[in-house]
């Protein structure tokens, strides 16, 4: 593989891994949230444990 192809593969793969993992985390959060019912059980944030407004 040429230098440019290697760099493209490396950056591409990294991008794919990060995006896939992010989407997995977010979609898992959404599906469990839906299972539990909205507003019923808001997750407490790392940075603000008391933040329980429906929009969070």
């Amino acid at each position: 593989m040429s230098e440019v192809a290697t760099v493209a593969t490396g950056w591409g793969l990294t991008f794919v891994v990060i995006v896939t993992y992010s989407l997995w985390v977010v979609s898992r959060g959404r599906s469990i949230g839906r299972e539990l019912g909205i507003g019923e059980a808001q997750p407490s944030g790392l940075e603000q444990e008391s933040d329980l407004s429906p929009d969070t």
Binding site: M1, S2, E3, V4, T6, V7, T9, G10, W11, L13, T14, V17, I18, Y21, S22, V25, V26, R28, G29, R30, I32, G33, R34, E35, L36, I38, G39, A41, P43, S44, G45, L46, E47, Q48, E49, D51, P54, D55, T56
Partner: protein, 260 residues
């Protein structure tokens, strides 16, 4: 998206939304800086651009594992004193470890590709590469241990002990290039040593590290909230199962009563 409902923001807060937008913007500029503005290397040519992914990835992995260790220690020390049994610390440890594993994996992937064009091989069992793959496998084991069914506090304690044991390898990985002879080069930047890297590349590297930190922080926060949701769901399920069992039992005893 017109049909966005509240649940689409399940793990988001204003802070993480700002962090997320900041992260995306930072990544865009990182691509421009890393792939186009920064110069090719005098020896390595274009291949040097792997530096901006490979090195920040392992830094963030180290950082995540530090966070896992500190939280695990706090869990062990404070779990009895906290109302939630210290499960907050357990969640921080778990989410940081998972993100750390993702970035260790990325370090290995980018390193192998980089190795192929510079060293002429994807893999060699030298001290740095061997200890890094060991790091990856031990934290995978840690994540597996977290999934073993047990009482949350017991499981948390087991995981915390394993996290502290696993962390021993982090300094070994970092110093392996100094302690043993390796094919891998020495650390790119280290305290008390003049960086042997030209200005533009140096700043691109630091900027990339900052960007990857934002992305990593965003991921850890979201993963934390998902763990919290998983726990809530497990509790819900347990309650439901118990109550359905109760119904069955009372139905059974009613039926028994009719027969006798």
């Amino acid at each position: 998206m017109a049909e966005r409902t509240d649940d689409s923001k399940m793990t988001a807060t204003p802070l993480t939304r700002v962090l997320g937008i900041l992260g995306i913007a930072a990544v865009v500029f990182m691509v421009v800086l890393g792939l186009f503005i920064s110069p090719p290397d005098v020896v390595q040519g274009e291949a040097v651009r792997m530096l901006y992914l490979h090195v920040p990835s392992i830094w963030i992995a180290y950082g995540s594992f530090v966070l896992t260790s500190v939280s695990s220690l706090l869990f062990l020390v404070r779990s009895r004193r906290r109302e939630d049994g210290g499960r907050h610390y357990d969640r921080v440890a778990g989410s940081a470890a998972e993100v750390g594993v993702v970035f260790t994996g990325l370090t290995l992937i980018t390193g192998m590709l980089w190795g192929k064009v510079t060293w002429g091989t994807y893999w060699q069992w030298d001290a740095r590469l061997t200890t890094t793959v060991l790091l990856f496998v031990t934290y995978l084991g840690y994540l597996a241990l977290r999934r073993l069914p047990a009482d949350p506090i017991v499981r948390g304690r087991r995981a915390a002990v394993m996290a502290l044991i696993s962390f021993v390898n982090v300094p070994i990985v970092h110093y392996s290039v100094d302690w043993w002879r390796t094919l891998h080069q020495k650390a790119s930047l280290s305290v008390g040593r003049r960086p042997e890297i030209t200005g533009e590349m140096y700043w691109t590297l630091l900027y990339s590290a900052l960007t990857v930190t934002i992305v990593g922080a965003w991921l850890i926060i979201h993963r934390y909230r998902v763990i919290r949701l998983e726990e809530l769901r497990d509790e819900e399920n347990l309650k439901m199962l118990i109550s359905s069992r109760r119904h069955e039992r009372s139905a059974d005893s009613a039926a028994d009563g009719e027969v006798s």
